[in-house]
Symmetry: C2
Subunit: 84 residues, 2 copies
Amino acid sequence: MNDIFKALNDATRREILELLKSKDLAAGEIADHFNISKPSISHHLDILKRADLITFEKNGQFVIYSINTSVMEDVLQWILTFKK
Amino acid sequence: MNDIFKALNDATRREILELLKSKDLAAGEIADHFNISKPSISHHLDILKRADLITFEKNGQFVIYSINTSVMEDVLQWILTFKK
DNA sequence: TTAATATTTAGATATTTGTCTAAATATATA
DNA sequence: TATATATTTAGACAAATATCTAAATATTAA
């Protein structure tokens, strides 16, 4: 739970998830959406990976990232415990 | 959304919310549950307040804190946009 | 009014975090 | 093989964060 909330606690990372909601993207395509260096985006992707919020697959020289919505279920359940 | 995720990105603050789920508590009662100084807990309460995740009411020399679940609804809706 | 209790504010400090540039690695293509 | 493209790793640095102690503020009670 710690890793998930940590990953979600950054506007850039949340926006990456929004992008991947529409379709899978290569690391470079993701980076192109931001005014942030590629290494920084790579670091954000790493944090999202650790939280298992995204997965990736190597395709030639590209690395294609996909969202993993199953982890969102855990957050959902946690939130629901607060609904009265 | 930023303030909410920031507030939730800390185990102590999430535990404070768990405590308040059961019942309203004074600042000191909350602090008694942790091996952390009262000023630190006061700081955590401040962050939860800013995120509107808790409310408070002064009662004599005590300050009674309550959880505000309505904000959880916003997180819930955000999470749901990822459910396929 | 003085002392005790409850809480917050102020200021300091060590750790974590987000960002950068430069360099390394991996793959594709000429 | 040499060069170009895609991505990550390494290392540095400023800003944010969680914590502490000491002091300030507010309220109650003797």
